[in-house]
Subunit: 244 residues, 6 copies
């Protein structure tokens, strides 16, 4: 099985970290291809940044050729609906993956993300997925995304402190880490706090395998129908509508 | 007062129709500037098409220079959150505008839109805005967006038939027309069916005037904070983050 | 355009303040007529007081003769549904007006009202309007309504302190002032706290203009149908059912 | 135990029917006092009519002197919140009574009321009480309230036909009759349709007994706090605020 | 009238206390029969314990022979749905009884239960009943169920302290005691805190009387239909399906 | 990896069919152990039957010794919460598994189950999981569970007809089959109707693998905490509390 893992931002070190987390989580027989768009913002922090990465995500899907499943490795699940229109293969967002799996091991969970400005988009996704009632609170750790890439930053300490607050104040039974860049922290933080700590990258890769292995394809009836054929300047070139 | 009305698709005849509807609705002292992005899809029908218009919406905002308010004239309210990050001026979507005003003249309303594939995004917006409980049903009339531009099409008849069903089957007390291209039909359909029929373009223009006249600015605390400064290839050029 | 602004309580100084706020907010061409019922409680603080003002509101509507729109200037939106039955012209409550406009400039807002006893009615309205999910918290400042009319009271300080708590504790991106008597405080409090602060009187007047200018009439199908003709003692005299 | 059952409208025949239904439902030791306001509309059909009965309800409460509990015998639960402010004794609305008891014998119920114009207020109450998720549908039988008082009307047939539709189309496991004037129909309709059919008058009287017998008093903390002392013209005379 | 009050756990002292509370609450003419299953856990604290008491509850229902109503005296309302399938007589859970009655005397209530592990099941019931929106918070007092049976424990003090927090922090207007073993504390705690404090045992007994006296029977259409006839080892013997 | 798949009913042919479906869905390296309790009802149709299988489910968990994950193969997810208390290994219900995966390939889905009496428990689970908003409708095909085991029954035809109605009437984009006994029908029905058709057994087995492979364990903080040690007659023998 071949899974295309798309880091929507352009920070190559983060793509590598995501790729390693994806490989560590995947079944041995699964080939992980981790990519990022050529152009676009180096990190995604809020509604504005999201806009500039989605055409790039779709372009990477086209460029990669046929795969068994796609993972969008931004916790906002940026471009997820559009990507599902563009293919019949499963497309899994790391945010939704972690939310769904958290509900299988805990009655309620809290999310610990990076900056406060990212909270509304995450809350909005939870509500859209139907899982808002399962989330106790979305919390910001006040860590910028790229600080997670810096060796000397106190990012890990801040995230851990916020987890402690979630467990004691929110009655959280599990924690979802709210950024692809936190993928390497989950295991140690789980041991430290005594509750499941979920990293979306690992969750999404395994869920993508699961959906693909079950032979489930994205429904082409309704909202994820193949886009109607339209030709326009600025369109990313090689994609052919409905090819899936 | 100067309001930039952005038709996110590239169909000039539709931009003209939207501009005329906007001018007809605006106060005499208001100057309407109706534009559309240079590149992108000729119509927006579903999640996929939305993606390719948002950078163009933001580019038009930059190109236009200072205005008092912005209207995004696609019923999906495409790019609304991102646009609000990019400015302190009010930004109003035509979908939200019609939903909010419908609740001021009716206990519940139904939406009549174009194709069934557009229903999920509209339902999702209603839920996000908090107004899902006020909407009886989102209905498709099975009219493609650009058929609304064709003289001989039976688009009007189909829309009217769907309104009749909404009134009798949904207990709808008002109707929201679910496409900017239906702007010219609202008045006649209201007379025909004896209930308020709301066109989002007119609603949004007046709401944009209202918010601007009240001196209300988009909050820069939280989700609509000015984007963090990031430089990257592919970025639309003249915009400077946080300029508002 | 002529708008009847009804202060449901009998405190004339408050009617004057509301009238001034309404005039300041209205378009130059709009004539504001600010009135209050002849009899009834001097302030509305909770469910009980509401009861005694609604017949008076309807009487003022009748007495005023034809207008283009009505504004009910009590934050509880007292009598709003009944008033909508009594006319085809738009009727806007100051509570709903502020809630709706707050969602256009902020992802979530908090309300700062007067006494704790008024919170349940406001929460109940938010839920009825569908906007409860957009409101972070309804807060009481422990200021009696008529203290807002007293020169030497510390009402302004208490309201400001509660706004500070809303911004820091609720993650509120905007504030709605929960009493018509706070109309004169909004601008200064917005500057002080760096978030939009909305006064319902100004919001409602502009929204009333908007709905009227768009030619939208209150739906007479369903819950706001004209009342069935009934004659009974105690009825306020000059109103004729269905006259609108 | 003495229970004041207030028919908010002024139709004496309906007050008698309600009184008889109340007596039939009450414990032998309970004294039922059935009254109606002196002035006001002969029936309550929609938001507008409600307004003119609430001061009268409160006046009847005062006039009656001390009782153990109050029942408001209009299915809209007109004036319920205000009445709770005016006393520490329990106040039960016939709508809420039937809704709550229906959930104890059935997973979901439908409501069959009189005219379509009354549906929104009932739906709104269900949502406010928290029980909207337990109600499959609120249905109108197109029977005017006072037609229920006429010997030769086909009111019973229409109500029965609507119950049949509720059972087959809504998957309703029980039926709530949505008008005090249907009190005499419940038993026969239950036998006819093979599901519990609840009359609010009977339900409310027994619930009022229950709450009073348990020594539960209306909370005076929060929304039902005794009204603040205010003197004003038009006030109904003998009531003294906070007397309870 | 004869009511079978089933304490699902096997602690006889608790059954006696529940029986006394039930008798104190019941009408003079009502005969209370308080029982507990022969085998099973001595207390119910969480999802696991619940499982082992439900067959015993059903067995006690069979053993008791015909009664007018059943009360299940565990705050989790353990086995309530199954018990309703097994009879046409009313079955009332003490949790639901207290929740419903609390909404008749207060706008919102908080629950004070025993251990934190019991909170999720209670929250889940509130949501299922539709009353989650009426409950401000479910709080644990950190008192084990059987500590409520011990003379020298500080259980009462802990429960009282948690009530104080509920009133001041949750804006709770009433308190529901979240364990059958707290039945004897309600009256004193209500006096102490000045808000209604509801004990589920008393509430359920009176509600059971009410539903039975009204002639209401558990609906046999839908989810509470009599179980299909099946014979299997381990089945409790004398029950015959559909006997009711 | 070793997964215990528990068919909660005692029909051995159904256990074999479930086992085969589980093996077909599992990764090659996974060992499936399909069991059913020794005693209990031959099928589970509604709330009553559920009660008698849960102690048996827990007994099978104990008897099986250590495994990597458990699957409960009844669409009602019978005993899921209790089973999670009894172990730290993941426990997945086939209902929840299908619901979660359906949301990854479709915006909304409908459920097609067996008898109408089973609908309420399924709706209740959907609401508890948070996914009710993603489910268009739960439909009964009027097929008894054991008819699915009979060669000559028209069960498949009835299920297929109900799927057709779901697609055309509910705007369902995917179908969830609401009974473990339908596991063998999913693939053909998906081809027939052109939408994803999900069988819970396959979904749950793969999800169980996923959660186990990710190293996620059931949270022991909160509702799924290990049961407190209690000894009582009737308890199933070999289980030791907290052993996990």
């Amino acid at each position: 099985m071949r899974i295309l893992v798309i880091n929507p931002n352009t920070t190559a070190s983060m793509t590598r970290k995501i790729g390693m987390a994806a490989e560590a989580a995947a079944s041995p027989a699964t080939e992980i291809v981790a990519v990022n768009p050529k152009d676009g913002p180096p990190s995604i922090e809020g509604y504005f940044d999201e806009v500039f990465v989605i055409p790039g995500i779709l372009a990477e899907m086209t460029k990669a050729g046929p795969v068994d499943a796609y993972v969008i490795a931004c916790f906002d699940d940026t471009g997820l609906d559009a990507a599902r229109c563009a293919t019949e293969a499963p497309v899994i967002g790391i945010g939704e993956a972690a939310f769904h799996l958290a509900t299988l091991v805990a009655g309620r969970f809290s999310v610990v993300t990076t900056l406060a400005r990212s909270i509304p988009a995450i809350e909005h996704n939870l509500s859209k997925y139907g899982l808002a009632s399962r989330c106790a609170k979305v919390r910001a750790s006040d860590v910028a995304v790229l600080d997670l890439e810096l060796a000397g930053s106190d990012a890990r300490r801040k995230v851990s402190a916020e987890i402690a607050r979630a467990v004691s104040e929110d009655r959280a039974e599990a924690i979802v880490l709210g950024c692809a860049g936190m993928a390497d922290l989950a295991h140690a933080l789980s041991l430290e706090h005594g509750v499941p700590v979920l990293d979306g990258v690992a969750c999404a890769v395994r869920l993508a395998e699961t959906v693909a292995a079950l032979g489930l394809r994205t429904s082409k009836v309704g909202g994820y129908a193949a886009p109607l054929a339209k030709r326009f300047a600025g369109y990313y070139a090689p994609w052919s509508p409905g090819a899936g």
